[in-house]
């Protein structure tokens, strides 16, 4: 029953601003796709285009086999006829209706019998663990509860596609963690194809089957969380994903499987590339030692930031700054000499000019 979503060459402009720029993507049946990017990157606009709340300026959108939007053919199906549900950032519960009415609104429009309405409300509320809240008004509930009702409202009319626009961003950190787990579980149970918008990379990495990273309306990378994290397609994605941030070291590639960074060399597969390059290494892919070690480079500990489960160490060597993450509370003292060794398997090389990942041709 799950359905595919296909977006072809989609462009949406607001005046001179191109919010979505010729985006192509396919969401597999039953999968969970996250649109990730900084604010203003076009992710919400893209979602709204899929929902039918915005009319794009070019391109096509299919939901399943159904062409729901085509500029060239002048087709744009009403949001209500696209068989999708949408959860808004601020929940958008109707304040003048009780929870029951909020949930049954869509069902009444579909003219379902009364017994069915009651059954659906019961089920939906049970699924979001809000049974017994039928007669509450939205303002009588907390943000987290309202969010659950908004989810229940979508679940109750059983759309084939779930769309969610930063549904957790108005919740506090603790609640967000709980809701992530529940959303993931709900998606698993319902099995509906889901498009999820967020600017929170942790949310994207934890929940998605695939992540689409966007910037300035352009799709940067569409891949699994694993690959987005370990093989960012370009410097933007590398820099955007990961906390603490990835280390980006400017250097010169010599085409001979090594890059000169400052006064030391980093061994890395260059696939024949030479010239200005950037070496990307995640903070956790660096081994740290207080004693000289063959293949390790000497640095000075500039700052040590333990945070319980792990510690972040900022190390300097001349102008070069490197952030390292180690497990546990680090015993390293400030201004101590340390030796860093990059995990060669985990290094990525980028062309400085294009910003793109250098890969085997």
């Amino acid at each position: 029953m799950a359905t595919t979503i296909t977006v072809k060459d989609l462009t949406k402009r607001f005046g001179d601003v191109i919010a979505v720029n010729r985006v192509n993507l396919t969401v597999e049946p039953g999968s969970f796709l996250t649109l990730l990017g900084p604010s203003g990157c076009g992710k919400t606009t893209l979602l709204r285009c899929i929902a039918g709340l915005e009319d794009p300026d070019e391109g096509e959108i299919y939901i399943g086999d159904k062409l729901v939007f085509s500029h060239a053919k002048g087709i744009s199906i009403q949001p209500g006829h696209r068989d999708l549900g949408l959860v808004f950032q601020n929940y958008a519960l109707w304040p003048h209706m009780t929870v029951f009415k909020n949930i049954t609104f869509a069902l009444e429009i579909q003219k379902l019998p009364k017994s069915e309405l009651e059954k659906r409300v019961k089920e939906a509320l049970a699924e979001v663990q809000m049974s017994g809240y039928e007669d509450r008004y939205p303002r009588e509930m907390s943000g987290g509860q309202q969010q659950r009702i908004a989810l229940a409202r979508m679940l109750a009319y059983r759309p084939k596609v779930f769309l969610m626009d930063e549904p957790l961003s108005n919740l506090d950190a603790r609640l967000r963690m709980d809701m992530r787990a529940e959303l993931k579980h709900l998606h698993h149970v319902a099995g509906a194809t889901t498009v999820y918008v967020t600017h929170d990379q942790v949310e994207a990495l934890t929940m998605s089957s695939k992540i689409a990273v966007m910037k300035d309306g352009l799709l940067q990378q569409l891949d699994t969380p694993d690959r987005v994290y370990h093989y960012p397609a370009n410097l933007f994605v590398a820099d955007f994903i990961g906390n603490p941030k990835v280390n980006l070291l400017d250097g010169d590639a010599n085409g001979n499987n090594s890059v000169t960074v400052g006064d030391f060399k980093v061994e890395i597969a260059t696939y024949g590339m030479s010239g200005k390059a950037v070496v990307a290494v995640r903070p956790e892919d660096i081994a740290i030692s207080t004693r000289p070690d063959p293949g390790a480079v000497e640095f000075i500990a500039y700052s040590v930031l333990p945070s319980g489960a792990d510690s972040t160490i900022v190390a300097h060597r001349g102008d070069i700054e490197v952030t390292v993450r180690v497990m546990g509370i680090s015993k390293i003292r400030l201004d101590e000499k340390i030796w860093l060794k990059f995990d060669q398997q985990a290094l990525n090389l980028y062309d400085k000019e294009s910003g793109n990942l250098v890969v085997a041709k």
């Binding site: 085509s70 002048g74 744009s76 949001p79 609104f105 429009i109």
Partner: protein, 611 residues
């Protein structure tokens, strides 16, 4: 831009796609409503203005008396030349213009002084009794604007132009001088006592919104209190002051009641009363020239307002919720000032009513002694010796008809206005950023720049002839409703827009996603959520329509007369006591309506008086 990927499709499918897109655009609710609103406003505002202009540059039937070879309907500069350059232009145009400007400027300055000073004291000092002052400040504005003028006459009439001699004359036995009885001074004072509410509300709102830290910063920098007031506080409230200035100025420019009661008897004409006297003799071309002048002046002031305030708007509502940490200490003056202000307010709120009631209780005119009191003017049977044989107010079917007309007019106007407000709000808010919505918004603003009496004049020209399928409405009750609704469009669109902005767009989008069509979305989501705006818009319009005079004075006929216009008719016929009784009735109705409003809206009439 490279469009290589887009292969040019054949013509027919492309046309089909374009037309589909076009029809989808046209069928979207805000576009449909915008187009309907455009048509409505075109009919209610643009065509009348056009007709009015045309009337001034063509010969009218009426002109055949003056110009022998004139052919009705032919182009002519006759009216403009006559009103602007001929011998009578001085009396017909320039003097009234000068008088209008004098009165407006005088009334504006006076109400600024009263309202501004009171606002400062209420907001920025530790004066006790602020609540009472706040409430009382609104009272004069609730009453019809010419109430104080009529009371003034009861107090100061010196009998030079006939009519009932005033209380002062009865008490002192001497006639007050003319400058105190009639003409500019009384008109200015009586208007200012009505309009000072504007300044009071504007300035106190502005003062309250100032972030006190701005002033504290000045204080820390070592500035004196007076210096802070001059250099920091005052510049910050200038936008509010200017808005108050412009509004009072253009309101008084177009006001009719006061000048008609206190100016016309001594031939002190303003533009508004001169327009009226021209229309009564069917000299429409001439009247419309004056109306256009009045509109131009009003537009000029509003243009200046936007020019001056516009550039300063950047720091208009400074800082948001300013919390007043410090208030100027009045020390020994505290109680005294409060007493003075409250006495002043009670005087201008209550004294006029007392005077008016008293005058209606006099049997023999001009004798204010207690022994002369009687209810003859209220419940007396028709008697030729009293009021040219008109029966007492409460026995007079014409008065009941007028009262009923007032209520009916207010109800209809309030309903249609509130309804238009919701629709305009929807069309403008949903279409935000599109050219169509901008046009609708700007058109909706036009009636605002047309003074009441000129707007009435506009409607004479429009509805004496049929327009398309719509029959000539002149002389009908419907015309009064139409003109009142049209004049309220700027306010209703504002309330509509702000009500609609309260409703987040996701609420409607959520309904769209849930499968609701535009109709269902409107009635089940939008309307319930904006209904408080609808109700308060309704109630407010109800009250303002009830005491509206300038707008309809040119359009009423004996059968469509409302209480407001009847006060004028009685005064013009010399039945002042009758007039006073009618205005008391009108005030009673207004107060009842007002009481209902405050029950509905938690006593805050201020909100709606924003403009």
């Amino acid at each position: 831009m490279t469009n290589a990927a887009i292969t040019p499709s054949p013509l027919l499918p492309r046309l089909l796609a374009t037309s589909r897109r076009f029809f989808r655009w046209v069928a979207s609710p805000h576009v449909v409503l915008s187009l309907i609103m455009l048509a409505v406003m075109f009919y209610m505002v643009i065509i009348p203005l056009y007709r009015m202009l045309m009337t001034t540059i063509t010969f009218q039937e009426n002109d055949l008396r003056y110009v022998r070879d004139a052919v009705a309907g032919e182009f002519t500069a006759f009216h403009w030349l006559r009103m602007l350059t001929s011998q009578i232009s001085k009396i017909m145009t320039y003097e009234p213009l000068l008088h209008s400007l004098t009165i407006s400027l005088g009334a504006t300055l006076l109400s600024f002084t009263i309202g501004g000073a009171m606002a400062w004291m209420v907001v920025r000092t530790d004066m006790p009794g602020r609540k009472i002052i706040n409430v009382l400040a609104v009272v004069p504005y609730i009453m019809p604007s010419w109430t104080i003028a009529m009371a003034w006459k009861v107090l100061f009439n010196n009998g030079t132009t006939g009519g009932v001699p005033g209380v002062l004359m009865f008490v002192t036995g001497q006639a007050p001088p003319d400058w105190l009885s009639f003409g500019p001074l009384p008109i200015i004072v009586s208007s200012a006592l009505h309009y000072y509410t504007f300044f009071f509300l504007f300035v106190s709102a502005a003062l309250m919104s100032i972030d006190s830290s701005l002033e504290e910063a000045g204080e820390l920098a070592g500035a004196s209190r007076w210096r802070i007031l001059r250099k920091i506080t005052f510049p910050l409230v200038i936008p509010a002051l200017l808005s108050g200035f412009i509004m009072t100025f253009s309101k008084t420019m177009g006001t009719f009641g006061g000048p008609n009661v206190l100016g016309v008897p001594v031939r002190y004409y303003t533009l508004s009363t001169m327009i009226r006297s021209n229309t009564t003799i069917s000299a429409y071309g001439d009247a419309f020239v004056l109306a256009i002048l009045l509109i131009l002046f009003s537009m000029l002031t509003i243009f200046l307002n936007q020019k001056i305030v516009g550039t300063r708007k950047s720091f208009e509502t400074i800082g948001g919720r300013g919390f007043m940490a410090q208030k100027t200490k009045l020390r020994n003056w505290r109680g005294f000032l409060t007493t003075v202000i409250v006495i002043f307010q009670v005087l201008i709120a209550v004294l006029p009513l007392v005077l008016l009631v008293w005058s209606t209780l006099m049997l023999r005119t001009g004798d204010y002694s207690l022994s002369n009191l009687s209810l003859a003017h209220w419940i007396g049977k028709s008697d030729v010796s009293i009021n040219s044989g008109e029966p007492g107010v409460l026995r007079n079917p014409a008065i009941y008809r007028g009262a009923w007309n007032s209520i009916k007019l207010s109800l209809y106007t309030a309903f249609f206005t509130a309804f238009l407000g919701v629709i305009l709000g929807y069309a403008i808010v949903k279409g935000r950023g599109t050219r169509l919505a901008k046009i609708v918004e700007q058109l909706a603003f036009i009636p605002y720049v047309i003074p009441g009496i000129a707007f009435g004049a506009v409607y004479i020209s429009m509805f004496t002839k049929p327009v398309g399928p719509i029959p000539p409405l002149y002389g009908t009750f419907a015309l009064l409703v139409v003109v009142s609704v049209a004049k309220h469009i700027p306010y209703s669109s504002r309330t509509g827009v702000s009500a609609m902005l309260q409703v987040g767009r996701e609420l409607e989008e959520a309904a769209a996603v849930a499968g609701a069509n535009a109709w269902q979305r409107f009635w089940r989501i939008i309307f319930p959520l904006t209904s408080t705006g609808f109700v308060s818009g309704f109630l407010l319009t109800f009250i303002t329509t009830m005491r509206e005079l300038s707008l309809i004075i040119l359009l009423v006929t004996p059968t469509t007369a409302v209480l407001a216009s009847m006060t004028m008719r009685y005064i013009e016929n010399g039945n002042e006591q009758q007039a006073n009784a009618v205005i008391i009735l009108l005030i009673t109705l207004v107060l009842i309506g007002n009481f209902i409003i405050s029950r509905f809206r938690g006593g805050s009439l201020k909100k709606g008086l924003g403009m």
